[in-house]
Symmetry: C3
Subunit: 203 residues, 3 copies
């Protein structure tokens, strides 16, 4: 098996998403099976919802054993080394941002491959990057975090929109994809560093 740069980012992104799911499940005091399922749902949820919406079957994770191994690794590491993983939370946070950037671009490109319109591709990218976390929160009976607390989906939307801006400026799709991914990572890091939030509105 030959792993290229994208595969490696995908694996560490999947691992980080799985760890975030496992930690959230452990806070709710689930048993190891429940923790594994929530880790799975967090890591594959976004891509699965995307594939369901566009009709790409079987959905991606059924065909990709790399993802399954990364998720097992993330869930089991969380179970056994939870305390130690927390010590590297800044590294995990960086991995998560990388995953967000990469999965957004993967989702967007899958939309393009299915000949869908640009706004729909932005939506599919955002769904791929963010809806694993929504599924995690719904299954754990929380209001989804990204709906009220973090500048997370917004980074994904901005980066995905930037992709189409760049392509419209005659920049190649490869360069646009890498730029979109990197800007999502940078926006996400800046958002947490400077505590960006969206303004709230009241009725």
């Amino acid at each position: 098996m030959h792993l290229n740069f994208i595969d490696i980012i995908e694996i560490i992104g999947t691992f980080s998403f799985a760890v975030s799911g496992a930690f959230a499940a452990m806070e709710k005091n689930l048993d190891p099976f429940g923790i594994l399922i929530i880790a799975f749902a967090t890591a594959i949820g976004g891509g699965t919802i995307r594939d369901l919406l566009i009709g790409s079957f079987p959905v991606a994770w059924l065909k990709n054993s790399n993802a399954a191994w990364a998720i097992f690794g993330g869930a089991i590491s969380s179970l056994f080394f939870g305390r130690h993983l927390k010590l590297i939370h800044k590294l995990l946070f960086l991995f998560d941002a990388l995953g967000l950037g990469l999965f957004t671009v993967i989702g967007l490109e899958k939309g393009l491959a299915f000949h869908l319109s640009n706004p729909v591709c932005v939506a599919l990218g955002t769904i791929t990057g963010c809806f694993g976390g929504v599924l995690r929160d719904v299954m754990l009976n929380n209001v989804p975090l990204i709906f009220h607390k973090e500048f997370y989906a917004s980074a994904s939307i901005l980066g995905a929109s930037g992709y189409f801006l760049l392509v419209s400026l005659n920049i190649s799709e490869d360069v646009a994809g890498i730029s979109a991914m990197m800007s999502i990572v940078v926006i996400r890091l800046l958002a947490v560093r400077y505590n960006w939030t969206l303004p709230k509105f009241y009725v």
Copy 2:
């Protein structure tokens, strides 16, 4: 673009569903992104679940930019004019009833186009009309409203069943569709006016 009568009802129904989603999200104090997503899920949830179940891909809202614009309009109006929208809550309620009627008939007819049995078509009509609200409530961590409070899905089921009654009496499908839609609207309005509820059972 030429909009006919059905398109216009669809747009105002979608707008009303989006407003109902946005209001529910604002009550939970979500940020604008969360409000937009809940508005989307409320407005397109029913049709999306229907399309997933019967295998119609890509699901309807990925191909229909009218719906997306109506939802954006509904979500943004709720954010900026929430207080004023509440003043026209009777109008919004009427729009919602129109949407329920129309979406039920659309769902039912899509089931027929896929050669499914009559009871399944009733179920698909009800899902199309009502399950956006279920998705909204599940994502916001509420027990779905239509399961315990309102005579809402029942209006949808009665109207959809009436469609097949009329067709079995040799009434044309067009007339049956319009009659089903109108009876759903009337049942819904009467139900709220006279405070109909289903009886409850206890174990």
Copy 3:
């Protein structure tokens, strides 16, 4: 209509799943429509999620009126004879275990028919057997029971894994299927009799 042994187990398993959904809905004080929907979701949720993931359309329950009748029967029995059904809760528990065993094997075999890998087939079997209950709990705003309380999904995973062990020992698929189903039932009965749980981990 000719019903064979498998059909009969499927019907009583579906009935039992529907009753478990209806009881959970009645505890939340839902109205009869809500109870019916939760009964439906509990009984068909696992197979529906499986069919969505692998892309088998329309999903199984749209084509199978036996299931719909068993669910109606389960929901209506719960509504009218809830008190009496509780007297036979041991019988219902046995039916539920039979359903878990059968649905796990059905899901696993459907995965094989779609040429998916063995671990994916184990996952699909477990999803078919267990995720109706997850859907029930998510819709009722509970943390899914199988994630923190019962040795339930574990029985399903063990049985499904046993299937592949037996097949690798050159045992015929029919015998392996029946053995897997029976061992899931036995593991489930022993687990409840001796109060087995998975160990919990803390961060």
